[in-house]
Subunit: 303 residues, 2 copies
């Protein structure tokens, strides 16, 4: 789809302008590749620079101040590489550093919290919304704040589910090949029992609260979608913040006249602070569901 | 377009459910008909109940507390008529009463401020955003808050432009026939000079602030779009909160599985607290750009 060129309809800037600069995306590791995947699907002409801060992963248990510092470092690094927009593809990092990043950087900075919150507000009918995320994200109150900011009548039930991250990570390591349609992990004989054991403990309270919408407030969780859906039941709509953030990125670039040219050959570059570049390439391909191609190491000390 | 029925993609509730109940829309008078018009365009199968509180118009100079009370009254009246969603098609009333209405009512309540703010955030490239609105809306800080909430790096320049409301009202009265493409007023020999005289005073400071995006933060202002655009220049993108709010209504109904059935024959009903039903019908048709059909009087005392 070409960038819109309709004049003066308030939807986008006139002139049919293009910008082939890459989209910058970062996360503490592989999780943000679920966001990258949605961006690739929504915007196939766009180049991407992906940064996985594997050496300092996970961000979830760290203090918000420390993670805010990481966001500043990595945002600056991406902007130096010429990205036209920065996507914080990590809920913990969004909660910790989005506001500061927006103040510090000249390019637009998009997080995953607000898009996911907005989708949940639009979707709930009984106005009981659940949120599952890391401890850091839940304790920041970012989702509850963003949801109530949009609809003051919604009751938010938040549950930290840190072990889901471990299970998703384990799943990435143990599942050979691309994690297709988010069902591979559900049928994995090692993952399924581990998941079931703790899912009840985590999700049963949410069922009792009669939520009708559940925000997957961690970029790892779309990988567990089939498993989580199996426990909460078909009546609960699962919101993927990854997908919603990708839609926002598309809208921002379109409105600003900053989409890549139609037919532009997208280039994908991946960077990891981890020592094992081969591992990042192998595991990352499972989440992105396509070969990563170029993966390079970046030393944390050089940020 | 039928309601989406895609299963489990997080975009909407499964099952292809429908709801032919009307959409409730209200404003202090005719201004909100710019919102009604965008909703008719976006959702042609939906029935509408429109309430114009003409007897107490304008809301702009009133206290926020008083307007909040009106929102509660009219919202309850609309819900009693069975609407499935309430649209506060008035920026002043949104700023004054949205949060309270969301807490008080069971159906979703949509205002015009947040959708307009979000569109401006997505569209600005130099992050200098202007807002023009009534005194009440500007002084509430609702737009500045909503914009900075989405992008903390944006500078918001707000200017109360109360006389634009008078000019738009005058234009509605003086322009025979539908106000086509918002250009009729621009060519009106009475409106144009009156507008030009005060537009410089209002808009020149915004030009000097080098805004690249201007939110029309009053539902009357889309009627003056061609005139305002002529003064601020082609480089400034004008955001119509009316159009953005209509998009949000469409998304909310779609996500909840509450769209009217495809091909459902939409019924439009109009109510005014003003004594002159014939005048409401005549002037309203100019803003909506179609005959209103059924218009009834509602006594303010009965609310």
């Amino acid at each position: 789809m070409p960038a819109f060129t309709a004049f003066g309809d308030g939807y986008c800037r006139p002139g049919g302008e293009f910008d082939n600069a890459p989209i910058g995306i970062f996360d503490s590791g592989y999780g943000g590749l679920t966001v990258a995947r949605e961006i690739v699907k929504a915007l196939p002409d766009e180049s991407i620079v992906y940064f996985g801060d594997t050496a300092r992963c996970p961000y979830g248990p760290r203090s918000l101040d420390e993670v805010d510092g990481f966001v500043q470092q990595i945002g600056a690094w991406l902007i130096e590489r010429g990205v036209k927009i920065v996507v914080i593809a990590c809920n913990t990092a969004t909660a910790a550093g989005l506001t500061h990043a927006q103040q510090a950087f000249q390019v637009p900075v998009v997080g995953v919290v607000e898009p996911g919150a907005r989708a949940a507000v639009h979707a709930t009918t009984n106005r009981h919304v659940g949120v599952i995320a890391t401890k850091g994200t839940i304790e920041s109150g970012a989702y509850a704040g963003a949801i109530r900011n949009l609809d003051a009548g919604i009751t938010v039930f938040s549950v930290p589910t840190p072990r889901f991250v471990e299970i998703a990570e384990q799943g990435i390591r143990m599942t050979e090949g691309p994690i297709e349609d988010f069902t591979s992990l559900a049928s994995n004989v090692y993952i399924r029992p581990a998941f079931q054991e703790i899912a009840k403990e985590y999700l049963e309270p949410l069922r009792r609260c009669e939520i009708d919408t559940l925000v997957l407030g961690c970029t790892h969780f779309p990988l567990l979608k089939a498993l989580i859906g199996g426990v909460v039941g078909r009546d609960v709509l699962l919101i993927s913040s990854a997908k919603e953030a990708a839609k926002d990125v598309a809208e921002i670039l379109t409105r600003r006249g900053k989409r890549a040219e139609f037919g532009h050959e997208a280039a994908y570059e991946f960077f990891t602070t981890g020592d094992d570049v081969g591992e990042f390439e192998r595991f990352g391909a499972r989440v992105l569901r396509m070969p990563l191609g170029s993966v390079s190491h970046v030393d944390v000390g050089s940020l």
